[in-house]
């Protein structure tokens, strides 16, 4: 499972790095080059195709079916995806905790200031204990 995730990741990285849509063979060549540099594993084109269709299913990749071979590009930039992720993590009050459990929820500026005062207290008692 984790390995498939890493494959998806290297393909997405390649698509994000590329300015133009890429075909599966171009992607495979690109990844092969990368693998040679980092002595990673070689990938078969069929594996690349499998991972691409998984990514398409997750709407992370858009496939252009009007041309042969099919061309693939990332559905959004890496920055947009990061923004989406961070929005969900830092969450607003309405969708608070719906999906994930944060160690500490949002803290108001006033409480943050008060916590700074408490910090000395945890430190002091911690060190002297």
């Amino acid at each position: 499972m984790a390995q498939l995730g890493e494959l998806e990741r290297s393909i997405m990285d390649a698509l994000w790095a590329s300015e133009n849509p890429l075909s599966a063979t171009e992607l495979q060549e690109y990844l092969e080059e990368r693998a040679r540099e980092t002595s990673g594993k070689q990938l078969a084109v069929t594996t690349v195709l499998t991972v691409l269709s998984r990514l398409e299913h997750k709407s992370l990749v858009v496939r252009d079916r009007t041309v042969r071979p099919h061309l693939y590009r990332a559905s959004s930039s890496q920055a947009d995806h990061t923004a989406e992720l961070m929005h969900e993590i830092l969450g607003s009050s309405t969708d608070r905790g719906e999906v994930l459990a944060r160690f500490l929820g949002s803290v108001s500026p006033e409480e943050a200031a008060a916590l700074r005062g408490l910090l000395d207290q945890t430190r002091d008692s911690g060190r002297s204990a």
Partner: protein, 316 residues
Amino acid sequence: MIASTIALAVLAWALAWPIPARLSRAHWTSRAPRTALVLWQSIALTGGLSMIGSLLIFGLSAYGDSPLSAGDALVRETLAGGIPDGATIFQVGSLSFAVLLTGHLLLNLTATFVRTERQRRRHLDLVTLLSDPVPGEPRTRRLDHPAPVAYCLPGAFRSVTVLSDGLLDLLDEDELRAVLEHERAHLQHQHALVLLSFRSWGNALPWFPIAHLAETAVESLVEYIADDQARTVVDSHQLASAIALIGSAGAPSGAVHADSPARDYRVDTGVATTRIRRLLDGPPPLEPRVRIAILTGAILLLLLPLTLLLTISLVA
């Protein structure tokens, strides 16, 4: 069956208002968060069962003298396309309402569950693409972001704990262990499922003020439970210091969510402050015999509506 209808209705009322209102103000809950969480679940479940039960029994009284024979008659009459002679509109209405309410609650639970699961999967996809595994810590990933955040993403098969670079830079080793153990506790005890059930209850009954009160109380309780587990591996001070550090590290909420409505925070009752106070100079845990007494009460409470139903079936 009228007596049991009234008994169940009184129980439903007590569990819908006075009892949860008092429990949400009680101070002992932070001294025994696990016990309190069981009690909240028992109150919610028993409250729902008795509310539906009282409506059902009242409606069924038109069909027969005992719930079993009445249920049998209900199926026969309904299949034949009629209602029995002498059934009042209140009885038929109460029966329909019981069925609708049950359906509403179950559908809402399912919808909340499906929606959350879909969001969770999407989130996991993105996390996998945008973060790196942490060597030596299974199912833990680090996210390249300066805001200090830590969270766990529970999943049916795969769960993952995510730490940001900002967090790793901020905390020392012990503080980090405290955070990891806190998140592990949430995953181990299936807190996500408990929260989801209470949240769905609140969504299904928005006009029911107590549902929101219960949700807030349960949210604090699961944090206390996770804190208590974290302080079994590190000193309370280290955990408290992790909370204070993350909370005071220019909490990103204000900057990132300038658009979110201003919330009514009171500084000394904020969750972070309450958790730190509890860790540093909170009262000792509740005595075991008191906890056992409360647990027994919670279980007996859950058995009460079932016992009532059984008794009238046997007596009739």
